[in-house]
Symmetry: C2
Subunit: 266 residues, 2 copies
């Protein structure tokens, strides 16, 4: 292990959904190595759009992986599973002590608005938060080739702040970094109301049977203030606090007034 | 099509995550057939624990399926994809008009508390809600063999109420029905704060390489009022309104006071 066993350095679990050999996780692990002791537990190959899937019908395999960081070689494992699997496995089985932080990314491509629901990157951080560990998901807002070094610097600054102050229980951060040379600053945002307009393209196989490719385009339905979409579009790093309690608390009281005529209702 | 083309009957899309041949979806489609015109679009095989996964790296195939309901044969399609894929495909490509409601289930096994994040059943309803359609997920709270007929009666009553009143924008319902002969009534609930204590069991393959099965047990961390866990444990049908905006709105203002020292911040 690169950093010896200095118990005072924070222990940082690094994962992603683009796979353990993706350049984004290399950049993230590299700056985390400046902050604390890094352990990498990540999918062996790309797991994009898996959402919060977990692997229950087949076993997962874990393979030690060669993973270089500036200070030497990080402890690293490739897992035949989803990002949520990686976090569960790391926290329950691999790590020798509870980590101080779980970071996921840097994803190649933005995870904003409704897309967080489909994001393996975010689900890894969500899983950590459910299990009681502070967690941050990082994404670089481009699908083109683009260096990860500047977004990794932002990731480091944000991580240092979170390690210093701590997050409230059950809240994680979702960070999206524009692919720009001159980023204008940092904005605290909410998820924009949005959806995908689908989008299945029909193709025919050689036996003339139809199959369909999911396609479509993202539609921002939200022109209100402080959205993540607006922030990244205007050159700001977007930081959105997320929760994993999906209860629609704002509507609960009103909903209690509904009269239920179900068989056997009181 | 069983019910002809009576445009005044509500159009109800029925899906699930246990697969199109599961008994729970047969029971649900059967009672929906009493309420409106039923179209079934469901995974060709079991998709449990897929969360909000969508299929982007391979195409999906759609096969017409024989699906009997009391009034005859329902229009039905089996899809080689996730529950969220089924809803996207149905709304964009299969259905000739927008449905009045999407129902998902009846899942064989409860979907309560933190488990909704892993649930394909709930994610199908979530996807419908994102796309602007009222949606309800139904689950029967047992992993044992148990008849679905009584839970289907409750599903019908709840569907009739929702069709009459309508749900607010971006809110869906998650319904869990106890596997009991004498259900005590209906409770409007919130998701209990909970988590899984993992749980990987190591096994060795014939070449003596380790692999791991995910296991563990559900832990309810919430002894507050009105949780879904408490409701089903005390013999009540639990109805939880869910939202798909994961922003932690309650903490946004406080979080805005954080000082960000990121490079380039304002």
């Amino acid at each position: 292990m690169a950093n010896g066993s200095d118990e005072k350095r924070p222990l940082i679990l690094v994962t992603n959904d683009d796979g353990i050999d993706a350049p984004g996780i290399a950049a993230l692990a590299s700056v985390m190595d400046e902050v604390g002791e890094v352990v990498v537990v990540a999918p062996i190959d790309e797991q994009s759009a898996v959402g919060h899937a977990i692997t229950v019908h087949q076993p997962v395999r874990v393979r030690p992986w060669n993973f270089d960081v500036p200070s030497g070689t990080a402890e690293a494992y490739a897992v035949t599973g989803t990002p949520a699997d990686c976090v569960k496995l790391a926290l329950s089985t691999i790590l020798k002590r509870e980590p101080d932080l779980v970071v996921s990314g840097i994803n190649h491509g933005e995870n904003i608005a409704v897309n967080v629901l489909y994001s393996g990157t975010v689900s890894a951080a969500t899983e950590a938060s459910i299990l009681g560990i502070d967690a941050i998901a990082f994404s670089l807002c481009t699908n083109e080739a683009y260096p990860f070094d500047m977004s990794a610097r932002y990731a480091k600054t944000i991580v240092e702040q979170v390690l210093k102050v701590g997050l409230p229980r059950c809240i994680l951060l979702n960070v999206n970094i524009p692919a720009l040379a001159d980023i204008r600053g940092v904005a605290v945002t909410r998820l924009a109301h949005s959806r995908w307009e689908e989008g299945f393209v029909e193709r025919r196989d050689p036996r003339d049977r139809a199959y369909y490719w999911l396609t479509g385009h993202f539609v921002n339905l939200d022109d209100g203030d402080s959205t993540d979409v607006e922030a990244v579009r205007t050159g700001l790093v977007s930081i959105t606090p997320l929760q994993h309690d999906l209860t629609a608390h704002s509507w609960l009281e009103e909903f209690r007034d509904w009269k239920w005529e179900a068989n056997g209702s009181e």
